[in-house]
């Protein structure tokens, strides 16, 4: 094990472990690259958009892609490319923030349920199971419908639909790790439950949770777009990808690119995040990749 001998400091160790994880399945690099590209584009959107996303050019409405409007214009003559770039910001913010919240809350619930077991675990997991089986879309739809489509409400709704998944993904390895002797050794050494859960269990399950973070961000972005498509997204004229598809759907027979472009954009970011998460999952569970 000479390679390990050179990475003695904690920082170097984490870095080399991360790189090895990415290398387990090379496509995760592609996923990461595309994702970061989209993030950069979104952050720079106000500066790199060729037009103002809200500016209407009535004389050029429903224009096909041209050199002036690279992806064409919508029903109000607004540049689709600029709207896509700005829409990326909303998709990313909602997706990442909602998933992050869900990760924190869900993991805590999952670890507690897995560690303490008993009736608390039984009850909590039954509820989580039902919520998990509940279509995220329907659940999100109900919550946003009842509360109104503001940025906060949408984030809360999507976070709530993601919590059960994190609870599950934190609970299973917690139970597995809890059975290992070093936890029992910790108890015999007088460590408190809180210490065992935070210092001993959490670092050993963080990989699974982080992989879930990537995959669920993808799912959250997809759910948000679906909600916007139904009409429960941020209200126009704010450019959300789902909303743009909704608008474009009305003109689908003649100007189908209105609905197609944002669709492709959603697909790209979701696929990238899925590649990333799925590739990292190979690092955690080599059996899935097919090695002995």
């Amino acid at each position: 094990m000479t390679a390990a001998a050179t990475t003695r400091t904690p920082g170097a160790r984490v870095l080399s472990a991360t790189i090895r994880a990415f290398n387990a399945n090379k496509t995760s690099w592609i996923g990461l690259g595309v994702f970061l590209l989209v993030v950069v584009l979104a952050v720079l959107a106000p500066w790199i958009s060729p037009h103002d996303p809200l500016e209407q050019d009535i004389f050029n409405k429903l224009a096909s892609p041209s050199s002036r409007y690279w992806l064409g214009t919508d029903y109000f003559g607004r540049d689709i490319l600029s709207r896509l770039l700005h829409g990326a910001r909303y998709s990313l913010i909602i997706g990442i923030v909602a998933t992050f919240m869900a990760m924190i809350i869900g993991s805590i619930i999952g670890i507690l349920a897995g560690y303490y077991g008993g009736r608390f675990d039984l009850f909590t997991m039954q509820v989580m199971d039902i919520l998990l089986a509940f279509p995220s879309l329907i659940l999100g739809l109900i919550i946003v419908a009842m509360l109104g489509p503001s940025l906060t409400n949408i984030i809360i709704a999507i976070a709530l639909t993601s919590i059960p998944s994190f609870a599950r993904i934190a609970r299973a390895p917690t139970i597995a790790v809890k059975e290992r002797e070093f936890i029992e050794a910790g108890r015999s050494l007088g460590y408190s439950d809180a210490r065992l859960m935070s210092v001993h269990i959490l670092p050993n399950i963080s990989a699974e949770i982080l992989v879930m973070f990537s995959l669920w961000t993808a799912s959250s972005i997809r759910t948000e777009a679906s909600l916007a498509f139904i009409g429960l997204g941020l209200k126009p004229p704010i450019p959300t990808w789902g909303g743009m598809i909704r608008d474009g759907f009305e003109n689908i027979l003649d100007s189908y690119w209105l609905a197609l472009m944002p669709g492709v954009a959603i697909l790209i970011i979701v696929f990238a995040l899925n590649l990333l998460g799925d590739g990292l999952r190979d690092a955690i569970d080599p059996k899935l990749k097919g090695e002995q």
């Binding site: 390990a4 002797e181 015999s188 050494l189 007088g190 001993h200 002995q292």
Partner: protein, 602 residues
């Protein structure tokens, strides 16, 4: 001299990791004659299992490569096309594996699994195959075979499942049976039954057996010839008796020296260190005699009286208590400083639960545990923490006993920091000190557990326990998962530490031979009760209780003269301490055979 059934010539099996091919079996050659039993013995990493998988060509083709010749009655199996090889597997050579609990398909009945083997190799119909399968089940002595034919594997115990595996393997009357450590996961009395069964069937079917194991006692009992493997090489081969009495290769000598032999401690009162043989030169050191560590007049450090621990089993719709496991039922013993008391018995006897109950990792139902004058069993949880410093535990699985994400230095220092016994700087010094004490080097402080071997990890766990300066250490099967030679080294370490620090050990084990070396006193447990307790010499030289005698008779002894010994088959399962909720355990009386040697009256 008839022609050999199996002839291995220059077998080299390599595995690929990345781009590099690493040989795991190197240039191995040997023969197996008809009706002969050949044992392949070695420790982990020796390549013995891979040899078996190579013969069966079950090595994964993507990453594995077999070179050399494997001649089955003259026919070379290595270049054989897969369809022909399939006929060989199960038809001419059969294999049984180590883990009976996972080796049978859980969703198919055992009868079906045996019958399908027959249909793979012979052109017979389903009904005929089932009839034949039933006959074979009878042959392997599954009680009520006809009734159990359509049951699923999860209804069978480990020993019974291994019998089913044997039935499947022998269904088509193979010429050679490869047994890869089939009894390692079984209790010693069950192991004895299975070994006996294999011998009997071997005679009846006239087949050869290749027996893979790490247990020299098993080797002595079953093998006509023995091959010793070390790191992929066959280092020594020969007739079993000669090999045991006059080993030539240094590794063989080292291996034999590390094997505890039941009865070798006769006449000695105190525990004995194992002689350490250098693997390269074959020279043995002279084991120093262990010093006297026990003061016979001192008050006992630990005094357990009438300890009871039970587990409720709930079933039914409302989750009512349908029964209880009487894991520990009225156990009493005492332990002095510097003394080692062994709790020995088979699975389900309650020895592990006793250890955990004393430390209150499991809550006992009743009884007292006096430690240093205070009753641990009734301490409130807040005071328990302080008490935990003084009694420590070492567990069975060295691979799971350390947090894989923490450096070993961090894991060893943690208890001291948590209990406030040291701050970061003093802890660092203590850790270095402890590492040296357990025979490791202080510059290993920043490594992660996966960089260490099993034996080294167990030393690290001992170091971690020592950090709190305990007076009592409960060793729960602490050496059971280690290789034979490593086992000896760790036991030597434990004896040295006992001499240096006056540690008391509660040594929990199923291995009678190891117990004989390590303990001052022994308690034999069965169904949650102590059936016999006394000084080690007394219990081992003059066992009184029938269960103690049965246990000792079942232990395979590394004495080749016992090879022709036949035990006579029994089918007893190990009883479980499971009782109905209204069961009241009877009061037990003990009779004193000699000073300190007590036996339960039956």
């Amino acid at each position: 001299m008839s022609a050999p059934i199996l002839s291995i010539r220059n077998l080299t099996t390599s595995f690929r990791s990345g781009k590099v091919w690493t040989p795991v079996v190197k240039d191995l050659s040997f023969d197996i004659a008809p009706r002969e039993t050949v044992a392949i013995v070695g420790e982990s990493g020796s390549g013995k299992s891979v040899t078996a998988l190579s013969i069966m060509r079950l090595v994964p083709e993507v990453n594995g490569r077999i070179e050399g010749r494997i001649l089955l009655q003259g026919r070379d199996l290595v270049p054989l096309p897969e369809s022909d090889m399939r006929a060989v597997r199960g038809g001419e050579i059969s294999m049984i594996f180590q883990e009976p609990m996972t080796s049978l398909n859980p969703v198919l009945t055992i009868g079906f699994q045996i019958a399908e083997t027959l249909r793979f190799h012979r052109l017979i119909g389903q009904a005929q195959a089932e009839a034949e399968a039933l006959r074979i089940l009878d042959t392997v002595r599954i009680p009520a075979a006809k009734a159990r034919f359509n049951e699923y594997p999860h209804r069978f115990s480990g020993g019974m499942r291994q019998r089913v595996m044997i039935a499947m393997a022998l269904a088509c009357r193979p010429k050679l049976l490869i047994a890869d450590a089939p009894t390692t996961a079984l209790d010693v009395t069950i192991q004895a039954q299975i070994l006996e069964l294999i011998k009997e069937l071997q005679d009846a079917f006239g087949m050869a057996v290749m027996f893979i194991t790490h247990d020299m006692g098993v080797v002595a009992e079953v093998a006509d010839r023995t091959i010793v493997m070390y790191q992929g090489d066959g280092v020594e081969a020969g007739e079993t008796g000669t090999l045991f009495l006059a080993p030539r290769h240094p590794y063989t000598k080292a291996l034999l020296a590390a094997v505890p032999k039941l009865g070798s401690m006769a006449g000695q009162d105190r525990p004995g260190r194992f002689p350490v043989v250098d693997v390269l030169t074959g020279e043995s050191d002279v084991p120093q005699t262990t010093p006297e560590t026990v003061d016979p007049n001192a008050q006992p450090l630990l005094d357990v009286r009438d300890l009871v621990t039970r587990f409720d089993l709930r079933s039914g719709i409302l989750g009512r208590v349908s029964g209880r496991v009487h894991a520990v039922e009225g156990v009493s013993f005492s332990l002095r400083a510097g003394e080692t008391l062994a709790l020995v018995g088979e699975s389900g006897c309650g020895k592990s639960t006793t250890g955990r109950s004393i430390l209150r990792l499991v809550e006992p139902r009743s009884g007292t545990v006096m430690f240093e004058g205070r009753d641990v069993a009734s301490l409130p949880k807040t005071e328990l923490r302080a008490m935990r410093q003084r009694m420590q535990m070492i567990f069975q699985d060295p691979y799971a006993s350390l947090n894989p994400r923490k450096t070993v230095g961090g894991s060893i220092a943690e208890p001291m920091l948590v209990h406030g016994l040291a701050d970061r700087t003093t802890a660092r010094a203590r850790v270095a000190d402890l590492l040296v004490k357990v025979g490791l080097s202080p510059d290993m402080v920043d490594r992660l557990p996966h960089e260490f071997s099993g034996g080294q990890r167990q030393r690290l766990c001992i170091a971690r326990a020592l950090g709190l300066a305990p007076r009592l250490i409960v060793a729960d099967e602490a050496v059971s998962a280690l290789d034979v030679s490593i086992k000896a080294q760790v036991i030597n370490l434990m004896l040295d530490l006992q001499a240096e620090f006056g540690l008391a050990y509660l040594f929990i084990s199923h291995d009678m031979a190891v117990v004989e070396r390590v303990s001052h006193r022994v308690a034999v447990m069965h169904l949650g009760e102590i059936v016999e307790i006394g000084p080690r010499a007394a219990v081992f030289d003059d066992p009184q209780h029938p269960y103690t005698r049965k246990l000792m008779a079942a232990v395979p002894s590394p004495d080749p003269a016992r090879r022709t010994l036949r035990r006579g088959l029994s089918n007893d399962e190990i009883p479980s301490p499971f009782q109905k909720p209204d069961y009241v355990p009877p009061k037990r009386l003990y009779r004193e055979v000699s000073p300190g040697h007590l036996v339960q009256e039956s």
